[in-house]
């Protein structure tokens, strides 16, 4: 891995339009049962514009930024050796169907530990008005040569 990756940012991703059926599909896939995730009327009764995405739905948007990092030849990350080390989401507000989201990834740290490398990347997700929605932080472990 390129040790000088720390501090690098990638261009904002193309806008991702959060669809109601996508939220419902994702909610069912993570075994969510809350009506706020599934039923627009229940979500509206609770004060939301439409169905509320489960907390980890942000990974769908984050995925587009990680693809930029993993696809960057200059980053030098061998995808076949990548293991997901840890994950965090920090919310200003939940994602709701109808949101148009863009994400910008910044590499915050690169470390080596016992032959393995670890890269931590923060993807800041904002809505169509540019307001912060959630930051998704991933640490990827790249296994060294055996």
């Amino acid at each position: 891995m390129n040790p000088e990756l720390a501090g690098r940012s990638y261009p904002a991703t193309e806008p991702y339009l959060v669809g109601r059926e996508k939220v419902r599909e994702f909610a069912r896939a993570v075994l969510a049962t809350s009506p706020l995730n599934l039923d627009p009327e229940a979500a509206q009764a609770a004060g939301y514009a439409d169905v509320v995405a489960p907390p980890t739905f942000a990974v769908v948007v984050q995925e587009h930024t990680l693809a930029q990092l993993l696809g960057d030849p200059d980053a030098g990350i061998d995808f076949s050796r990548v293991v997901h080390g840890d994950q965090r989401f920090t919310f200003t507000r939940p994602i709701v169907a109808g949101d148009e989201l863009t994400a910008t990834l910044t590499v915050t740290s690169v470390k080596s530990l016992g032959g393995h490398s670890m890269v931590t990347a923060e993807s800041a997700v904002v809505d169509a008005g540019g307001a912060h929605v959630v930051t998704a932080i991933s640490t990827l472990v790249v296994r060294g040569d055996e």
């Binding site: 996508k22 599909e25 994702f26 069912r28 896939a29 993570v30 075994l31 969510a32 049962t33 809350s34 009506p35 706020l36 995730n37 229940a42 609770a46 939301y48 509320v52 995405a53 489960p54 907390p55 980890t56 990974v59 769908v60 995925e63 076949s80 293991v83 997901h84 080390g85 840890d86 994950q87 965090r88 989401f89 920090t90 919310f91 507000r93 939940p94 932080i137």
Partner: protein, 145 residues
Amino acid sequence: MSGSSLSDLTVGDVVAEQSYHLTRDTLVRYAGASGDFNPIHYRDDIATSVGLDGVLAHGMLTMGLAVQPVVDWLGGDSGKVLDYQVRFTRPVLVDPTAGADVTVVAKVGLVEALPNGRDGARIDLTVTFNGETVLGKAQVRVALT
């Protein structure tokens, strides 16, 4: 909605507990919903060829379901989740016929006043498969009011 407040909660209280039965179908459904089509999550031949014991659940599926008991405890309002983090420490191996059972226990780790004056708490998750924890430092910060 929920009447939980700081005075009702004590560190160590179990606020939710839930078991989930995962099958290969669960993994395929998650692959489609999330767009994560890494074949180690549905093909045994590929999983074993990279040194795994078999097909594994997506780490993000485990993370995604582990927060659901907390969301239910919050009255179903996933918008009350302010921050959620986990470390992936052990894989969840999903047997083609028997599946896998994952258990989540959610305990109060901290009660706190949020900067905006609302009541908040940190809920710590213990997520186990086959008697061993599969997530480390699994913490959910929530707004209670």
